[in-house]
């Protein structure tokens, strides 16, 4: 990261009391990195479109283990975790960053450990490079460490995070999760995030997919409208492994979902798809760096944004093809629909290519609802407001259809329907 002339200490002020208490090798190293660069501002290229003023203004207290069980139960219902298709699935529920056994149902055939017990950091995250990962490393409280043995199908597991902050008492929590699918194993993982009040959810998730293993990963971000959700995800995919991910963002005042995926051996593939639907003053950022570090790998990325009110959507997607990564096949598409004259989209799809025998392309489109389509629907008797909803829904659905797993798709549809109910008969 560039040396930036600013008071790096000042950016860390909201976390200072806890940072002063940091101990341990990894944590102090991360703190050192933080002190060198501070939290990024918009002069840092990777943060050009997303500012962190939200953090500077708020003194965040550390989380407490106690939570309001009635509220938590209701929130799990709202999120579709304990209602509908979700109710049948194993779930690991974290409240304010701490594991809540009373709300959880442990999965079978899959081993689960907890960071609060093991204290072990994974090998993939880069606190030296990403300041938010450094912040997480310094302050991490708890987290799930899921591991699927070789050749085992681990089924479908929910990893749920609830944040609950009382009025006037903002908190921050920094979960440290990891998922490992061993050779030939399989797992479906859906991360669901919700909450209330003003808090910062700053998770780091390390994903390793071994040879011929497969991980289908959906993230549903439906955090409190007052919250900041700043997640960083590191994935490494081994030979012929597949990591299919999708992020759906509808919540939080400020959200960033940052993925670093590395295709580390031949014939690996990765999907880094996503959709976000924002309104009011929401700011949603979907950023990714996909590194092709081996030949014959495939990467795919489709991201769709629907932006209303004064919301701002950000898409940054870099595909890096190293010299060794011949026969790379990379495709990336970012599309945005602006519904209001005050909404904004900033997109930076980026190709950095050092191998010659590659097929890489990216595309981006920005536009409003199609007048012809609107007219067509209205001429068939559909009221304007409903016609809009139908077209918006259709636009997002084309992305959501990339969630291959039916249950995962139903979970995302539930969140969309709860937050943006469609009037009339349209499903």
């Amino acid at each position: 990261m560039n040396a930036v002339t600013k008071d790096t200490k000042a950016t860390l002020q909201p976390f200072q009391p806890r940072l002063d208490a940091v101990k341990g090798l990894e944590r102090t190293a991360a703190l050192g990195a933080l002190h060198r660069v501070g939290l990024p501002d918009r002069r840092v290229e990777e943060w050009k479109y997303t500012g962190l003023r939200f953090l500077a203004e708020t003194p965040f207290a550390g989380p407490v283990r106690a939570y309001d069980a009635t509220w938590a139960q209701a929130e799990l219902q709202r999120l579709g975790v304990t209602a509908g298709v979700g109710a049948a699935l194993a779930r690991l529920v974290f409240v304010n960053g701490y594991y809540a056994p009373d709300l959880s149902v442990l999965p079978e055939g899959v081993s689960v450990a907890f960071f609060s017990k093991t204290g072990s950091f994974g090998p993939l995250a880069c606190p030296d490079r990403e300041a938010l990962t450094a912040l997480n490393t310094a302050l991490a409280e708890d987290g799930a460490q899921i591991s699927v043995p070789a050749g085992v199908d681990g089924g479908h597991v929910l990893l749920v995070s609830l944040g609950q902050a009382q009025a006037g008492a903002p908190i921050s929590f920094h979960p440290r999760h990891s998922v490992h699918v061993a050779e030939g194993g399989k797992l479906r993982l859906t991360c669901i995030q919700g909450g209330q009040g003003r808090y910062l959810h700053n998770p780091v998730l390390e994903v390793s997919v071994a040879a011929r293993a497969e991980l289908n990963h959906l993230t549903i971000q439906s955090e409190s409208d007052e919250a900041a959700s700043l997640a960083t995800l590191y994935a490494q995919i081994d030979e012929r492994g597949a990591y299919n991910s999708f992020v759906l963002g509808v919540g939080a005042a400020l959200a960033r979902h940052e993925v670093h995926a590395r295709l580390s051996a031949a014939h690996a593939q990765v999907h880094v798809n996503g959709a976000q639907r924002l309104r009011a003053k929401q700011h949603g950022d979907i950023s990714s760096v996909i590194t092709h570090a081996a030949p014959d790998c495939i990467s795919r990325q489709t991201v769709r944004n629907v932006l209303d009110g004064q919301s701002r959507g950000v898409f940054q997607g870099k595909v890096l093809v190293e010299r060794i990564a011949q026969k790379t096949d990379g495709y990336q598409m970012n599309q945005a629909l602006l519904l209001s004259e005050h909404a904004e989209i900033d997109a930076k799809p980026e190709l950095e290519i050092y191998a010659d025998d590659v097929k890489c392309s990216h595309g981006a489109t920005v536009g409003a609802l199609d007048d012809d389509q609107m007219f067509y629907l209205r001429s068939r008797g559909v009221p304007e407001a409903e016609a809009r909803q139908i077209l918006i829904h259709a636009f997002l659905e084309e992305a959501l259809d990339l969630i291959a797993d039916e249950t995962a798709h139903a979970l995302s549809a539930h969140i969309m329907a709860t937050r943006y109910p469609l009037s009339g008969e349209e499903a």
């Binding site: 930076k348 050092y354 010659d356 990216h362 595309g363 981006a364 489109t365």
Partner: protein, 496 residues
């Protein structure tokens, strides 16, 4: 696979020998002492007999420059430049400026002949044999800039009759001070960026064009830039103002001798298009790229920007960039007038150790403004080439449209090709489309051409020219032919 290997070997063989413009001309030079300070600027201003306001303008730029840092965001790497180790003024020693070709140093004319630049009006007017199916060539008026000084401008009479002003900017400062004062720095302010500030402080010459209301410039205007003297920077400044309903097509070509050390070139070009005006600006940039080991070559740090001030005005940039060790260049359009149009067509070829970071900015301010970006990047050898472009739509630009197409072609596995577009939209009634691809020349295409009897070199040349066609067809015919040859030569062996 073998076809690619051969191609790559051919690229590697390609050394400096292919730079056919690398001769040096021995001319008596008037050089300012090395270094940059207020005195240098005063000296330049004095030599050019400039009015006080321009000296003040330069000094302000110099002080702004002192406060600025060299930009670091581009994907180019080079050792630190010592800005005190260059001459900021170099001019051929020739007492009063030449009034006609007869007065020009014959050595200079020979230089331009070698470059293939037709300065002789007679020869031009006589016309050249026209191949079947091609239109008769238009005469071209040429302003030739040697190191920092304009040495000759042709066809001035014809242009004057049409009301068009085409002269060295140093003359325009004296003859048309109000125009220059009004527009100079109005598109690229003195403090715009590091290199623009430097240029504003020390520019020595360049071209000035003024096309009055309703006039279609009767011929193509052309400037040829040549860096000759050792250790000189070239800082030309071009200003083109086109009034309501008027139009002009302007061509720019550049060459330099081969030298071991790097030379700095930091030009500023400002275009102003008023209502219904149209400016077509074409560049064939062939500065010395350095040798096959990356020694020498021009550092090309250029700021080019056009303002579409009037409604329905149009600015079109077309560039073929084959030269320079480093290219840092983003010809841009500020689309202010309602319904104004910006275009950027670019071919950038890098070979050996060349580095290019080039692209454009399209700033949509007015309603119904439109922009088109077509960028073709070809990387060979150990070179790195980046397309970097910004499309920004501001809240009032309802109905704005942009289409961007960026394609990269890699030849060999030691080079890099990168695409970095920035898309910023703050208007829901805008429509932006961006497409980018990266690929190599397909074995299928090569084999198909060779089966039809084409040599591999010709086949690659044909395919590359096809790849660049959407850009090349935007060039005026004279230039298009030259550009095609240049592509051929720049990638000789590898790409025809």
């Amino acid at each position: 696979m073998p076809a690619v290997t051969e191609t790559r070997e051919a690229v590697e063989k390609l050394g400096q020998s292919s730079y056919k413009w690398g001769f040096e001309t021995d001319i008596d030079m008037d050089l300012a002492p090395k270094g940059l300070n207020e005195d240098t600027i005063r000296l330049i201003s004095a030599r050019k007999e400039e009015p006080e306001w321009l000296l003040e303008w330069r000094l302000a730029a110099y002080h702004a420059w002192l406060q600025m840092e060299e930009p670091k965001w581009a994907k180019v790497a080079y050792p630190p430049i010592d800005y005190q180790d260059a001459h900021y003024y170099a001019a051929p020693k020739k007492k009063p400026g030449p009034k006609s070709l007869d007065e020009v140093d014959p050595e200079l004319l020979r230089t331009y002949e070698k470059l293939g630049i037709p300065l002789h009006e007679q020869a031009m007017l006589a016309g050249v044999e026209v191949p079947e199916g091609e239109e008769a060539r238009m005469p071209v008026a040429v302003d030739a800039v040697f190191d920092s000084v304009s040495v000759v401008t042709t066809f001035r009479k014809t242009l004057e009759e049409a009301g068009v002003i085409f002269c060295p900017i140093s003359e325009a400062v004296k003859d048309h001070p109000d125009l220059v004062r009004k527009y100079l720095g109005s598109v690229v302010p003195t403090g715009d960026n590091f290199y623009a500030a430097l240029n504003s402080a020390v520019f020595t010459d360049g071209s000035f064009v003024y096309v009055p209301k309703g006039v279609r410039c009767p011929m193509e205007l052309s400037t040829y830039f040549r860096i000759n003297a050792r250790n000189t920077g070239q800082f030309e400044r071009t200003l083109i103002v086109v009034e309501d309903g008027a139009s002009v097509s302007y061509l720019e070509g550049c060459t330099a001798p081969m030298r071991d050390e790097n030379q700095l070139h930091a030009a500023v070009v400002e275009l102003v298009a008023m209502e219904d005006a149209s400016i077509k600006y074409s560049t064939v940039q062939n500065w010395y790229p350095g040798d096959e080991n990356g020694r020498g070559g021009i550092y090309n740090f250029v700021t080019k920007r056009g303002a579409c001030r009037g409604a329905r005005s149009k600015i079109s940039w077309t560039q073929v960039e084959t030269g320079s060790a480093i290219t840092w260049k983003y010809p841009s359009c500020i689309l202010q007038g309602e319904g104004s149009v910006g275009e950027f067509y670019s071919v950038a070829v890098t070979n050996n150790h060349q580095q290019a970071d080039t692209g454009t900015k399209m700033i949509h301010i007015g309603r119904n403004t439109r922009s088109t970006i077509i960028a073709k990047t070809i990387s060979a050898g150990k070179s790195d080439s980046t397309y970097r472009g910004l499309v920004r739509v501001l809240p009032k630009a309802s109905g704005a449209r942009n289409f961007t197409q960026c394609d990269s072609l890699l030849i060999g596995d030691q080079c890099g090709a990168h695409t970095v577009p920035y898309i910023e939209n703050r208007n829901m009634k805008a429509r932006i489309e961006h497409e980018a691809t990266t690929s190599k020349i397909s074995e299928d295409q090569l084999f198909y051409c060779r089966q039809r009897g084409l040599s591999e070199e010709d086949a690659v040349g044909l395919i590359v020219n096809g790849f660049c066609r959407d850009v090349l067809k935007e060039l005026p015919m004279e230039f298009a032919v030259e550009a095609q040859k240049l592509l051929q030569i720049s990638l000789e062996g590898s790409v025809g």
